[in-house]
């Protein structure tokens, strides 16, 4: 039965791409980058913006994916492959789309930024800056996926609530101290001040756990509400 997952991923990815419902979250992403990134600025600070922007984008893409199928079509796929697996495919496609967006932005932003710390006294190798950026993007995408999963159906189903709650949750997860996304971004910002790259391995691990837990809970809940 697990062989159904590739087919579901392909279907959900095609659904997302062809529906053009990815456009608003990606516009949000582009706007945050346009406002926050200037060419010639220190690289790690700019990569912090790249990572921050991924989180609300991921949460929005989750909403797009889990609400993308009309109920009748969702019933058809759920009967064929199991409702939990269908939901898992939605979350995986949203998460992958957000991660891919961030991963495209990281090398571009790194290329137009200055490979130095904030006061331009310490050089930062572009390779390690890109690696730091990619891992931070991944941490933020996973946490954004978790936030989106917990603020949308099947958890939150009342009309009108999911959108503001998702926005609020994405904001909280970014600014709350102790949140792995906040830790990853803080790591980039302090790295930019000191000129030392510290890879956000612990935040990444915690984000992965949070995303796995949110995925497990929602995939189990989806057939039960």
């Amino acid at each position: 039965m697990t062989s159904r997952l590739p087919a579901l991923l392909r279907y959900q990815a095609a659904l997302l791409l062809r529906s053009y419902r990815w456009l608003p979250p990606l516009l949000l992403y582009a706007i945050i980058l346009a406002v926050g990134v200037r060419s010639g600025e220190p690289v790690l600070g700019s990569l912090g913006v790249v990572a921050v922007a991924v989180l609300p984008t991921a949460a929005w893409l989750v909403r797009v994916c889990v609400t993308g199928e009309p109920p009748a079509a969702r019933a058809v796929t759920a009967a064929a492959a199991g409702p939990g697996r269908v939901h898992l495919a939605c979350l995986a496609v949203a998460s992958a789309a957000a991660t891919a967006t961030g991963c495209v932005a990281v090398p571009v932003v790194a290329a137009v930024s200055a490979p130095y710390n904030d006061d331009l006294t310490v050089g930062i190798p572009t390779g390690s800056a890109v690696l730091d950026g990619l891992l931070s993007v991944l941490a933020c995408a996973l946490l954004g996926t978790a936030a989106g999963a917990l603020c949308n159906p099947p958890v939150l189903r009342r009309r009108g609530w999911p959108v503001p709650v998702t926005a609020l949750a994405a904001l909280l997860v970014l600014v709350a101290s102790g949140s792995p996304a906040n830790a990853a971004v803080t790591g980039l910002v302090t790295g930019s001040a000191s000129g030392h790259v510290t890879l956000p391995l612990l935040p990444l691990g915690l984000s992965l756990l949070a995303c796995a837990a949110a995925t497990a809970v929602t995939c189990r809940l989806v057939a039960r509400r």
């Binding site: 058809v76 492959a81 039960r224």
Partner: protein
Amino acid sequence: MRLHGVGRRYGLRGRWVLRDIDLDVPRHALLRIDGRNGTGKSTLLRLLAGIDAPTAGRITGRPATAYVPERFAAALPFDAAGYLVHCGRIHGLPGPLAQRRAAQWLERFGIGEHARTPLEVLSKGTAQKVAVAQALLAEPELLILDEAWTGLDTAARAQLDAEVTARVAAGTTTVFVDHDPARLAGAATAVHRVEGAALVAVTPAAATAPNTAPAAVLIDAHRPGGPRTVPPALPASARTLPARPGDAGLRVTVAAADSDAVLRALLAADPAWHIRSVAPAPGPAPGGALAKEDGR
């Protein structure tokens, strides 16, 4: 498949839509679920299809399942063939087979020219045919039809009737809900009614009105592109009728008791025969049943 003490309610404190349902769904069964509007027929079908999980109790032994909703007007960004191929793969078919079956089923329902039409612009009936094709192309072991006939034209309804009869004969378990009390009346092996959150067994229509059950049935099949060779080893009561001019189809009359064996043989042939209709045979069967069949 078995339902053990199954109950379902929506939300933590919602009322019980279904409660303490014990039901045995044997292989080969054709179950009809009756009940007034809003009694929980669709909820039961969603539980049987595995779309919803029971709040209480459990369901064991569900095989590969396909579900046909009523009024499938899907706002999906696919064309008909593309959607069917996706569905085929999700049902576990390899890609090339899914493509072949998708094309076959679009042709069988006479909507081959809509293969590249976006689902959003299909008429209601054509979209419903796509929903039915999605389920049949998977050749599931369990077929759940929630008023799947709604929106289909008369020919497509008859075709779905024949297809369900043939699939059941070939071993598929089918559970259906439909407004028309005559739907598959002779073929249903059991009827259950949802009443006050419980499931009540109703005596099968065939047992209450034995005089309407035909003594013999006429099976009309065709095989586009394939040879018109009759499968060997048909039951002794089977008679092949002479071919009609201009029609390459095969018509077989057979005693009602042996009709399953004929359907199985036709479906097992390679390439498989496509069953166009299964109807009471003219002659020894009561004329009334035949007239009713024609009038529908």
